[in-house]
Subunit: 339 residues, 2 copies
């Protein structure tokens, strides 16, 4: 086992001082050609690599960014992480991923853990519990310490920081409009509790589309599921008690699951009932029929967040200007709606 070699080791072996070694390896003009060559050769031979931790301590920069998301096992967040990682790595940053598991406490713990020097900034998406409690003190503390934060997707107005979202309302609007344009009149929505910022926005967009097209918004056509429960009975009841010819779902799991229940009761998709979901994941792609969705461009969101964060981290300027980047969703038309 050949342990990592340090500047000190090189200095000792070559009988020069540590600073000479340091400078030589940085190709400093100060050092003579001879010495530099000797030191560089030695360093190369022994595969010297500077210790990141020491550099971090010195520079007060870790080149790590902390990502706190509600759930890793979720296609959308996964694409966000991929975008973050891609961009961050290209700029020499590492990504520390922590999942809050939709829990407020875990979100707080993870942030505190990382905020003590481990990272230069945060990219995060709020846990549902946090949005429900509406308690953002952990975020406030972090920003007050001067640690930059970028909120993605699940955001809040309570915190001043950079934000990246897609226009969820527009997405739902586009989806509902699509259905209306295809002659659907009895359009339902399957959504989650209102405290989730994105579901709220999507429900708004849905309502807006109906209203603008002279369709009455009927509460009985709106089913609210508690988060990810996938309560089969509730959906069945919904289908039993409601006359629908189209359903908008706030995520792809709701959509694919409901499609199946619809099929089981003999409905043809899209002829009898058309479906649109959110999140352009594998499920939508490979469902049968394939699902028309509002694509959220998670990877793009990740890249942009990472860019905003790193720019802020590296900017000397002490300006307190924050921006909110709103991306346009895209409708990906597949077989669950008429083309």
């Amino acid at each position: 086992m050949k342990a990592k070699i340090t500047l000190k080791d090189i200095a000792r072996e070559l009988e020069v001082s540590i600073s000479t070694v340091s400078k030589a390896l940085k190709n400093s003009e100060e050092i003579s050609r001879d010495t530099k060559e000797k030191i560089q050769a030695f360093a190369k031979l022994y595969n010297y690599r500077p210790n990141n931790i020491a550099i971090s301590l010195k520079n007060k920069r870790t080149k790590n960014i902390g990502v706190v998301i509600p759930d890793i096992v979720h296609h959308f967040f996964t694409t966000v992480i991929r975008g973050i990682e891609k961009y961050a790595n290209a700029r020499g940053y590492n990504v520390i991923v922590c999942s809050s598991d939709e829990s407020f406490d875990r979100e707080v713990i993870n942030m505190e853990m990382l905020a003590n020097g481990s990272i230069d900034g945060f990219i995060m998406s709020l846990s549902s519990e946090t949005q429900k409690k509406n308690d953002y003190n952990h975020l406030k503390e972090v920003t007050e310490q001067g640690i930059p934060v970028v909120l993605v997707d699940r955001i809040t107005n309570e915190i001043e920081c950079d934000k990246v979202v897609i226009d969820d309302q527009l997405g739902a609007y586009m989806a509902a409009k699509k259905m209306i344009d295809q002659g659907r009149k009895k359009i339902g929505i399957i959504t989650t509790a209102d405290y989730l910022s994105v579901s709220r926005a999507r429900t708004e967009g849905y309502k807006k589309a109906l209203m603008e097209h002279g369709i009455e918004v009927d509460e009985s056509r709106m089913l609210k599921l508690s988060s990810m429960d996938m309560d089969e009975e509730l959906i069945k009841d919904f289908f039993d008690s409601t006359d629908l010819d189209a359903v908008l779902c706030v995520n792809e799991i709701f959509a694919v699951f409901s499609m199946r229940l619809a099929q089981k009761r003999g409905l043809r998709i899209p002829e009898d009932m058309s479906f649109i979901g959110f999140t352009d994941g594998f499920l939508s792609q490979y469902a049968y029929p394939s699902l028309t969705v509002v694509a959220q461009h998670g990877q793009k969101m990740g890249e942009i967040s990472a860019q905003m964060l790193i720019d802020k981290v590296e900017s000397e300027a002490e300006e307190e200007t924050y921006q909110t980047k709103i991306l346009e969703p895209t409708l990906v038309v597949r077989d669950s709606t008429i083309n």
Copy 2:
């Protein structure tokens, strides 16, 4: 903006020495009750938190573990990460995730980046390119430096280290046997190139089951797709040219995709053709019909890897004993096979 407070700051404010502060905050016996209380109160008031980086430098322990996987946007790996994260966090470790994107170069770069002090150990799953090249020098270097490595799922015999896998061969065997037991005689397999350790093992298991039950292994019933291409034509040709009543697929995407193609040509599933895939993800669960799969227990694998890694990291012992943990897969029976 209230910047982070350090021991030095506290010492200055309270007019004591840094070491007194350090000891007081550790509740050392050496320090008088009075001083301790004063210091602790002050620290609490100003929300003192020790700087992780400084501690890392001192202890030569980062409490970070590096995870290098081929792809984050992949349900199986995602569950592995979740398991790692869960276990690691519980033991006070953070998880730095890097995706190699199935690329050898990115795998090498990421490992080098992390190996310079950022992490205490690695958990990794080899990229397909690495398995293809069969080049593991980057792993050798890391282990020679004394950094513990745990390989998960996509492993190699070239490296001596702890390993965690499921018994892929057994999984495929169980799946094929299930089909045989249900009277299927013409069982095909859709797999990937042989250099992927898991696909190879699964193909072996498939063959073994056939042979043990007196069914001839027919190369024409074995389709090899190049990784994740999802080449529709190839699968169609396969179905055209081969007479099959059951198909085993080495992942859920292959399975769900082929099921669709089969359905499109009028085959009933499972009556005319039954399907079994690998990976118990959302796709399998929500496909129509739902897919019978070999569950790989990714989360469990993640937890075990993390446990093995952290145990090794924290063990003083310099013993060079490595173990390979082989988990048993489980067959999750759904509607794509007869019950």
